[in-house]
């Protein structure tokens, strides 16, 4: 029964967060706690000759200092996360991956590979003293040739970021469908272009942070981390330190945003527990913003060389894409982002001939991990720029080219002919993309925009409209679990493996449970972010929690209901199938006036000799369900950006932004809208403002918030939202993921809109962000070209 699912229930999380009583890692204080500071490499590529800690050690208040030599043989390096990077055998057969082992020592041993790499750690009474000591540590570096450009890195004889990774190509794969080269021979036109997506930093407003508290008596270590993946953190600590996994408890308390990079286990999450064990006291490390910008994992940074064959009417015959992922010094997530890009490239389009070659290259930059969208914004920026370029070449409205190639509703479920990353066939489960496009075009009054555009052009004003669409595999497995129990007060307690960073888990999963159990969301207490209570858990990433944890919650609630009903039947003297649960009351269909409560059922369910439960019913009210999705489910969306460009200054004003999207069953519309708006804001950031920049020596140039520009309230319009609800066929509630979606399309939609605003000039925007300086440069170049043509 859907009573609460679909409602904009206010969040349970809010009270503590608006009263300042939430608890983030930095807010936790333990008796005797020390604070750590990491000394980080100022060099992008260098040999460590000597580290002198003598002066630092003498500083009063300093407890311990560790360098790479101290941990050699004691702490194993962090390597690829197997749960994310394993290539299923059938996928391997299809893409023939070549993988080279790569790793990062948690403190640099012998050499450093990127600016910001941890070289030493100081533990002191407080952060102030620890920073004083860090200043006194002298590291003698011998500079090595920095490897910054991924194309240079791949050349034979290039210096190596990691000695064992030949040609710095950590992984490559090849995907082929149909015959792209034959299609190219038969096409009316060929388009060749290079598309580049910038390197980004996720920048949750809460930086990362870790506290570890080792208890000698029990040999337990309690770790609090601002992580998206408490279970992965626990497994990695156990692996790197050789500890018994069950002696480690990882808690993710309130986490202040994640967006992906807080899901990559970082060196600090290993070093801090190690030191707590070493000094026998709790140790805390909270990342500062400068550390975040240099050392927290970054993302994106792909360069695509595409060859597209198409007909005069805009039909795309083939797409050939050779792309490079600049992964920085280490690739921890295997082919996650690269293959996401590959399998999402064609999005909502039918392109029968398709060939992808991908190389993941190591350079002397901060390692990359997935960030909201994880390979999809890169794919969509590439594809939708291609669509727009084809339209301009053919002098067609982009809408025509989109429609020409779009998968039609009657073709659903649609088989794209290749495999998903998890090994399932890539089949879109449900959706109506042309309807979404039409709905979006109506929302923006596309035809009247075109008229207005012409009129304003006469006044010298340049407005433009740009479209982007995507189809996104969401709700990736492998699984998520829910452990439900009823306590003596009659409350249902649900422990979930998926921990949130602002997505409202405590509310939405209570809504799901309430519907299944005939309770209110307030009767259900959701507990998340703790490895102590559930044997298995994955985490929150890949737009997966609503799908996986939501389904687990639903199924577990049904299991619990079954048990409750069975025991209630005994109390009420009715067969279980006659028992109903509504608004917290449990009664027989026959006699609604006589009801019992969960408390009554709880009492009867306790293990006891008199009166006993029938042998087929196990005592206690506790159930567990692990939901394992068959594969991902496909959410989709159409984004339309409207801009005005100031030709003289290159400034872009984003006037309107509209989204029509399908995320299947909506659990809480208010939260879904919030996810879309927030995602779009990050997408706008990457379209117009954000970029991590390294110079040719691998020095970071965007190390503060004066240089890395996050959009403010002045830059982000209120997104107009339209909804579709095509249920997923791959989980019981029909849910599709929504977390990442908003961030995927804005770069493409905005770039297309800018090109459209300047359609009288031949401008190609295949690089982001579109800064005023960059755009003004393009405008000038195009004007020059135009003038020289006119003068001929």
């Amino acid at each position: 029964m859907k009573k609460y699912v679909g409602q904009s229930i206010k969040r349970k999380e809010d009270y503590r967060l608006v009263t300042g009583t939430g608890q983030f890692v930095a807010d936790i204080k333990l008796a005797g706690m020390l604070e750590a500071v990491f000394v980080r490499s100022p060099q992008s590529h260098a040999r460590i000759r000597k580290i002198d800690i003598s002066k630092a050690k003498e500083l009063p208040g300093v407890h311990v200092i560790l360098i790479g030599d101290d941990i050699k043989g004691k702490i194993k390096p962090i390597t690829q996360f197997e749960s994310h990077s394993a290539v299923p055998p059938n996928v391997a057969k299809e893409i023939n991956p070549k993988i080279q082992f790569n790793y990062e020592s948690v403190l640099a041993v012998d050499k450093v590979m990127y600016v910001g790499q941890p070289v030493a750690v100081v533990v002191a009474d407080n952060r102030y003293i620890a920073e004083d000591a860090a200043d006194l540590i002298k590291v003698d570096y011998e500079q090595l040739t920095p490897i910054v450009n991924p194309f240079e890195a791949m050349k034979e004889g290039s210096p190596l970021v990691q000695e064992q990774v030949e040609q710095n190509i950590q992984m490559e794969f090849h995907l082929n469908l149909g015959d792209a080269r034959l299609a190219e021979q038969q096409a009316d036109h060929i388009l060749k272009t290079r598309v580049h997506t910038p390197r980004l930093s996720s920048n949750p407003i809460e930086t990362r942070g870790v506290i570890a508290d080792y208890d000698l008596r029990t040999e337990q270590t309690h770790v609090w981390s601002a992580t998206q993946l408490p279970f992965e953190v626990r497994a990695t600590i156990a692996h790197c330190l050789g500890w018994t996994e069950q002696n480690i408890r990882v808690t993710a308390p309130d986490v202040g945003g994640g967006f992906g990079p807080k899901g990559g286990v970082h060196p600090e999450e290993i070093v801090i527990p190690y030191i707590s064990n070493l000094v026998g006291r709790p140790v805390k490390w909270v990342e500062d913003r400068l550390e975040h910008l240099t050392s927290a994992r970054q993302s994106r940074d792909q360069i695509h060389d595409v060859v597209v064959a198409y007909r005069n009417d805009g039909t795309i015959l083939s797409l050939r894409d050779e792309f490079v992922v600049d992964s920085g010094a280490v690739n921890f997530f295997g082919f996650t982002c690269a293959y996401n890009t590959a399998y999402h490239l064609r999005g909502a389009f039918k392109i029968p001939n398709f060939e992808v070659t991908s190389r993941i290259v190591l350079t002397n930059k901060t390692p990359n991990v997935p960030f909201r969208g994880a390979g999809r914004p890169e794919a969509v920026f590439t594809m939708d720029r291609v669509i727009d370029m084809i339209a301009r070449k053919l002098k067609l409205d982009p809408v025509e080219v989109i429609k020409k190639n779009m998968i039609q509703a009657h073709e659903m479920p649609y088989d794209q002919g290749i495999l998903v990353k998890d090994g399932a066939r890539l089949i879109y489960d449900s959706g109506d993309y042309p309807a979404a496009l039409n709905q979006a075009l109506e929302m923006v009054e596309y035809d009247s925009f075109r008229k207005r555009q012409k009129e304003l052009k006469k006044e010298g004003k340049n407005i433009g409209i740009g479209i982007s669409t995507y189809v996104e595999g969401t709700g990736a497995g492998p699984f998520e679990g829910a452990l439900l129990s009823v306590d003596s007060t009659g409350k249902v307690i649900a422990h979930l493996g998926a921990s949130p960073q602002g997505q409202g888990h405590e509310t939405v999963f209570a809504q799901i449970g309430a519907d299944a159990l005939g309770l209110t969301p307030d009767d259900i207490v959701i507990k998340v972010g703790d490895t102590a209570v559930l044997p298995f858990g994955a985490g929150t990433y890949a737009s997966r929690s609503a799908v996986n944890a939501g389904s687990a919650m639903h199924e577990a609630s049904l299991k619990l209901r079954k048990k409750i009903v069975a025991i209630a039947g005994i109390i009420l003297g009715t067969p279980p199938e006659e028992v109903e649960m509504e608004d917290g009351k449990i009664f027989s269909k026959e006699n609604r006036s006589h009801s019992i409560t969960l408390q009554d059922v709880y009492k009867r369910a306790r293990p006891a000799a008199r009166p006993p439960l029938p042998p087929e019913i196990e005592p206690g009210l506790q159930v567990t369900h692990y939901f394992v999705p068959p594969t991902v489910t496909f959410a989709s969306s159409v984004h339309i950006a409207e801009v005005e460009v100031d030709k003289e200054t290159g400034f872009v004003e984003l006037q309107n932004y509209s989204v029509v999207h399908d995320c299947g069953t909506v659990i809480n519309p208010m939260i879904v809208d919030g996810q879309v708006q927030g995602g779009v804001a990050q997408g706008i950031g990457s379209a117009l403002y954000e970029e991590i920049v390294y110079d040719q020596n691998g020095q970071l140039l965007t190390g503060t918030y004066m240089d890395y520009l996050l959009p403010t309230s002045m830059e982000i319009p209120t997104v107009k939202k339209g909804h579709q609800e095509f249920l997923s066929t791959r989980n019981p509630l029909g849910i599709k993921g929504v977390g990442e979606g908003g961030a995927i399309s804005p770069p493409a939609a905005i770039a297309n809109a800018i090109v459209d605003a300047l359609s009288d000039l031949d401008i190609v925007i295949n690089q982001l962000p579109v800064s005023p300086s960059r755009l003004r440069g393009l405008i000038k170049e195009a004007e020059k070209k135009q003038n020289s043509i006119l003068s001929k």
Binding site: Y128, E131, L290, V693, L709, M714, E715, P772, S773, R776
Partner: protein
């Protein structure tokens, strides 16, 4: 990001502050609003042994008309300028520019003296002061004062002529004739950021509609805020035609020498300075034509 150790001194009058400066000289720094200094201390790019907190020197917190000048005490906060009716009345250019300084939270702490002494060429107040041909009053430890014009005071990027034992005491904005109209134009990557370029302009119109009394300065595109003298001379007696503005643009481009940074190439910023100069003049002239005092 925690500052290094320092000793804290809190003078209660100007002389005491100057005495501290004389005693500790280059080992010390003046702390007023701290909005530029403290970030650099948090990053440990700056680690003075002594911080002289002058924020409690009440005698340096004032906005008053002093003859032909609007005199602003060094410790006057940006927000006080923003909310001052006197500033709106006698120096609308300053009133317009002050809103471009950072965000409200910054303007609540940042001081006029601090902004001037910091010598950032991308800051708004130095640009306004330069355009208006204002003065900076500097206090010496022996009780004497020096009065410098911006060209003498701002030496280069983040460097002023201020000696370690000197303090900015007052900033004087000349009060321009009631008929004059002004405009402050700036573009920044985002709202509240330091400008990629900014222009402060003042004009008056002769009866025939030609320009007189032109004062223009640019900020953010040279190592110091700069008066566009050639543009000023050129514009006197001219009416704004497309040709005139084109020449203004050319003259401006010749007068600036910006550097390339992350937010814009040198070429871009040069061009931008020219575009903004033209825009600022056009707005000021428009306002002059409307004949209404511009107060936003």
């Amino acid at each position: 990001m925690k500052p290094a150790v320092f000793s804290y001194l809190r003078p209660t009058n100007l002389q005491q502050a100057l005495n501290y400066l004389e005693e500790y000289g280059e080992d010390s720094k003046i702390l007023s609003g701290g909005q530029s200094l403290i970030p650099t201390m948090n990053m440990r790019l700056s680690a003075p042994a002594y911080l002289i907190d002058i924020s409690r020197i009440k005698e340096l917190n004032y906005i008053r008309q002093d003859g032909d000048f609007l005199a602003v005490g060094a410790l006057t906060k940006h927000k006080d300028i923003e909310h001052s009716d006197l500033v709106k009345e006698v120096c609308p250019l300053l009133a317009e520019a002050i809103k471009w300084v950072g965000h409200a939270q910054i303007r609540n702490r940042g001081t006029v003296g601090g902004s001037i002494a910091h010598g950032d060429p991308s800051a708004e107040l130095p640009c306004v002061l330069t355009a208006l041909r204002g003065e900076i009053v500097i206090a010496n430890v022996d009780g004497s004062e020096e009065v410098l014009v911006p060209e003498e005071f701002f030496l280069t990027y983040m460097l002023t002529s201020l000696q370690p034992d000197q303090m900015v005491k007052e900033v004087r904005f000349p009060i321009i004739s009631k008929q004059c109209r002004s405009a402050f134009v700036e573009v920044a990557r985002r709202h509240g950021d330091f400008g990629l370029a900014m222009v402060a302009a003042v004009v008056d119109l002769n009866e025939d509609g030609s320009l007189s009394n032109v004062k223009i300065a640019v900020g953010g595109v040279n190592p110091t805020p700069t008066v566009l003298e050639e543009v000023e001379h050129y514009l006197v007696g001219k009416k704004l035609t497309d040709n005139v503005l084109e020449h203004v643009s050319t003259l401006t481009e010749e007068s600036v020498d910006p550097e390339t940074d992350l937010h814009g190439t040198a070429e871009y910023r040069r061009e931008l300075a020219a575009k903004l100069t033209v825009r600022a003049i056009k707005i000021a002239v428009e306002r002059a034509k409307e004949g209404e005092k511009h107060v936003q």
